[in-house]
């Protein structure tokens, strides 16, 4: 088990720089998720840690050892690939034993370790099969088993669940979380799925355009996004954004003809934006149309545009001051398109972002 340290890590393919000087510290035993849209550099960064891509400049350390020039096999890491990369001609047992055989582990030790890993992953009955005889979920388990038996310093997961169907994905997500609790190993996990990131991670690194936009706990990422990009990436449905103008006294934001009072916490920062346009952000659960007015709420007039019943809840799209915002409501809410309602915006949950840079104003 070891920590992983990235210092000013840069990756260039020819003239194109894809990773722009990233600094990250992954603590020993921590579960860190790299999340971001495709092309943000998250997989490249993981492959650089694995040693499958060279590092143009900067340092990568695994367990206090600089590994920039070490080949993957010398880094003592295990990786689970998106397509599983199981050896098709080897049995499940041999797939899992391969790394141990290459390290000249004794036959008894191999049997014991493969047996243990198979028991953890509940694939003992599959050990004699070939990968092609397995289902997607079973292959996924074997790929994880191959990583577990090695007992490496760190596990690297490259979008391991993206080839599974939705139900299986949820199941395996829980399995991976349980596995981390049980093994307590350092895990670096790449995904484009914000739900996976939120549910699995101790800390999330949100990447965009080859840079880390925010590196924080899921709670901070969700509740205190450092940028509009982060705010828009997390949550389903994502945070609502509306163009707003800060009033001349800096205490409220005006969306169309609707005035929203800003909380005390934002007023110092918003003062610099008096009379200027900003992006106002609020999550769907912080807009209410079906509860009695809370203490810290701004009541604003709204018109229902459309309702989407999801069973456990209903999403209500509202027009507020000309902007369309989605609100989460109880499943039994009786609203129809065209209805006029009073919407309550939770003031403390308002976010402001700079229009140009997208950086949070706070």
């Amino acid at each position: 088990m070891a920590n992983v340290q990235l210092r000013q890590v840069v990756k260039r393919f020819g003239d194109t720089e894809v990773i722009h000087g990233i600094d990250l510290e992954i603590r020993s035993g921590e579960f860190v998720v790299f999340v971001g849209p495709s092309g943000c550099g998250k997989s490249t960064l993981l492959r650089m840690i694995a040693g499958l891509e060279t590092t143009t400049s900067g340092d990568i350390e695994i367990g206090e050892t600089r590994v920039n020039d070490a080949p993957p096999r010398a880094r003592d890491i295990a990786m689970v690939f998106q397509d599983y990369a199981l050896y098709p001609h080897k049995s499940v047992f041999e797939n899992m034993a391969f790394g141990l055989r290459l390290r000249k582990t004794s036959e008894d030790e191999i049997k014991r370790r493969v047996g243990d890993a198979a028991a953890i992953l509940r694939i003992e009955h599959l050990l004699d099969r070939k990968p092609r005889q397995l289902s997607g979920g079973q292959r996924q388990r074997v790929a994880m088993g191959r990583a577990i038996v090695r007992d490496p310093k760190a596990f690297l997961f490259d979008e391991p669940l993206s080839n599974l169907d939705a139900q299986l994905r949820n199941e395996m997500r829980t399995e991976i979380k349980k596995l981390h609790l049980r093994l307590g190993k350092t895990i670096i996990y790449v995904t484009h799925d914000q739900v996976e990131a939120m549910t699995l991670a101790d800390r999330i690194a949100v990447l965009s355009g080859g840079k880390v936009i925010q590196y924080d706990t899921p709670d901070e990422i969700y509740n205190r996004p450092a940028a509009k990009f982060v705010a828009g990436f997390t949550g389903s449905p994502a945070m609502n954004f509306a163009s707003a103008e800060i009033s001349s006294d800096g205490t409220s934001a005006v969306v169309g003809n609707v005035t929203v009072t800003l909380p005390e916490s934002l007023r110092t920062a918003s003062a610099a934006y008096r009379g200027k346009t900003v992006v106002l952000g609020i999550r769907p659960e912080d807009i209410s149309v079906d509860r009695s007015a809370g203490v810290d709420c701004t009541l604003v007039p709204a018109r229902v545009v459309v309702t989407e019943p999801l069973g456990a809840e209903t999403l209500v799209t509202l027009s507020i001051g000309g902007a369309e915002l989605v609100a989460r409501a109880r499943p039994d809410v009786s609203l129809h398109a065209g209805d006029s309602v009073q919407a309550q915006l939770a003031s403390a949950k308002l976010h402001l972002f700079d229009v140009q840079s997208g950086v949070a104003i706070r």
Binding site: P72, R73, M79, Q82, D83, A85, Y87, G99, R103
Partner: protein
């Protein structure tokens, strides 16, 4: 009163065929063609092998039962030619496989431009066999040959390569390996490109060296392609004709005469169609046996 249903005539059945009849009708042309160009000649070959059919004498054909087969068993010319063919097969098939594998691995390297490499691989394969034979005959030519030129520059006496049994045989094998390895390489290159890159990455992370990756990933994953290439190559090697024919005409003496050449000589030069057919049946059986061995091996692997 309704008229009784007349039983359908043949015309009716053809006009509105059942699925089975339709299937037979659709398959008939292809089946007929196969009968004409595959089954009939092979059948005729077997039939002829039971006759004394010497076209040179003008005495017509005479049924002699298994006499031709008895003659074949005692014919040293047949056994010499068979031995030559087997040696050529045993040398050139593994030879072409090794060279072809090397070429395929080279061609699979990440070159900036792929087409010159592919073209270089394709050229020997696209060349007619007889051309290849002529090219190599010139290479080994005593007075003008490239080989003797190099040999002389290294201080050797010019040699008559194609006129001594061992060196002529070696020269022929070299020419066949050169010609055949490009086909091998093409088949194996296709196989190599089917192997997912992530397997090598997984093996790399698992701790495999380049050589271990080759023996543990590349070779086993390439096995099906290797088997296919071997089957094709073996069958064509058993039929070797053009290259020795153009390089040595079977000489010196009969030292490089293959079975196909012996059959050709018997049938075309000596006009002994009956005995020639018998020899051809012998070659047919030999090919069948070797193919059966490969196919058994493949089906065993599939079920494993």
């Amino acid at each position: 009163m309704a008229a009784p249903l007349a039983s359908p005539t043949l015309i009716d059945r053809l006009r509105d065929p059942s699925e089975k009849t339709l299937g037979v009708m659709l398959l008939a042309p292809a089946a007929l063609l196969l009968l004409m160009i595959v089954v009939y000649p092979i059948g005729k070959l077997f039939y002829n092998s039971f006759f004394d059919m010497r076209l040179s004498g003008g005495q017509g054909s005479k049924f002699i039962g298994l006499q031709n087969y008895a003659d074949m068993m005692k014919d040293t010319g047949f056994w010499d030619a068979t031995l030559n063919t087997v040696i050529i097969t045993a040398v050139t098939v593994p030879g072409a496989l090794l060279v072809g594998l090397g070429l395929a691995l080279l061609a699979n390297l990440p070159f900036k431009r792929q087409w010159p490499v592919r073209l270089a691989l394709l050229l020997p394969w696209a060349l007619p066999l007889a051309f290849a034979g002529l090219i190599w005959a010139w290479f080994f030519h005593t007075e003008y040959g490239f080989i003797n030129d190099v040999w002389a520059r290294m201080g050797g006496e010019p040699r008559m390569w194609l006129l001594s049994p061992v060196s002529a045989f070696t020269a022929i094998c070299l020419a066949i390996i050169w010609k055949a390895s490009s086909f091998m390489a093409l088949v194996l290159l296709a196989g190599l490109q089917m192997i997912p890159k992530s397997l090598y990455e997984a093996a790399e992370v698992d701790g495999a060296s380049k050589w271990q990756q080759f023996t543990q990933i590349t070779l086993p994953m390439l096995m099906p392609s290797i088997m296919v290439a071997l089957i094709f190559r073996t069958i064509t090697a058993l039929q070797t004709f053009d290259i020795p024919y153009t390089m040595t005409k079977g000489g010196p003496g009969n030292a490089t005469e293959t079975l196909a050449m012996y059959i050709h000589k018997t049938t075309i030069d000596y006009l002994d169609v009956g005995y020639g057919s018998t020899l051809a049946v012998g070659m047919f059986v030999l090919s069948l046996l070797l193919t059966a061995v490969y196919l058994r091996h493949i089906s065993k692997q599939d079920s494993a």
